[in-house]
Amino acid sequence: MYQKSPTQEWTSNVVRYKKFSGSWAWLLHRITGLGLTAYILVHINTLASLQEGPEAFNAKMQVFMQPHWIFAAWILFGLVLYHTLNGIRIVIIDFGKGAKYHKQLLYGAVVIGLIVFLWMGYIMFFGHAEYDFLSMIVTSYN
């Protein structure tokens, strides 16, 4: 009889495994969680420049005010947002009666998440008169 190698077995298990909405929510929660844990270490390390005084800190912050870093912060906000909304869903499932309507909770989280994500993007890029990122992007390509 044909014997699958461990690699083939693993691959076919992954492909065959039915990923329902709950599985995707679970997987994304883990991936975003790992990303955010890595980020908080970098974040604390960056903020250590607060101890070096105003010049060092403000110089570092000016770097992160560039449009592509604002975009990165927006994506980071997306990770935080998903992890937060799905985390609330998990708490409702674990402490309430959410197991009966966990799919509806996920669809609700996705809809609310997309709205808040776009809203935050608007605030970050266009919400500040003194930081007109759109014209900064345009001038940086001219």
């Binding site: 883990r30 607060l50 105003p54 403000n58 912050m61 985390g87 708490v91 935050m120 605030i123």
Partner: protein
């Protein structure tokens, strides 16, 4: 109990519970954090504004709790994921030790950043 069973000791119910509680607290603090830091970029990215906020000891206490809870929640989450896989016990010991050292080290750095003011 032998070190070989580290990672499977106990039911994990307490870490499950603390993960939920720290998560609920973090939701509220995180919403405030994002509004404060991004609603007005000047608020989050200017040394003087940070300095002004840090003069309030209650704000400092909130920030220390934020750092500790976020690190606990994140590293406990990594350990939760790790525990779903089966690895040799020496690796369990090493990973747990690394997570604790990272947590204590970055926690100390974060608290030092706050108490510097």
């Amino acid at each position: 109990m032998s070190y070989k069973y580290i990672g499977s000791r106990g039911s994990g119910s307490m870490s499950w519970f603390l993960q939920r509680i720290s998560g609920i607290v973090l939701v509220f603090v995180m919403v405030g954090h994002f509004i404060l830091m991004h609603y007005n970029p000047e608020m989050g990215h200017s040394f003087n504004r940070v300095f002004e906020r840090m003069q309030n000891p209650y704000y400092q206490m909130l920030q220390i709790a934020f750092v500790v809870l976020a690190l606990y929640h994140g590293l406990q989450g990594v350990w939760n994921i790790y525990r779903d896989f089966k690895f040799p016990s020496w690796l369990n010991m090493a990973v747990l030790a690394i997570l604790i050292v990272v947590g204590v080290g970055f926690g100390a750095l974060g608290i030092a950043n706050i108490l510097h003011f």
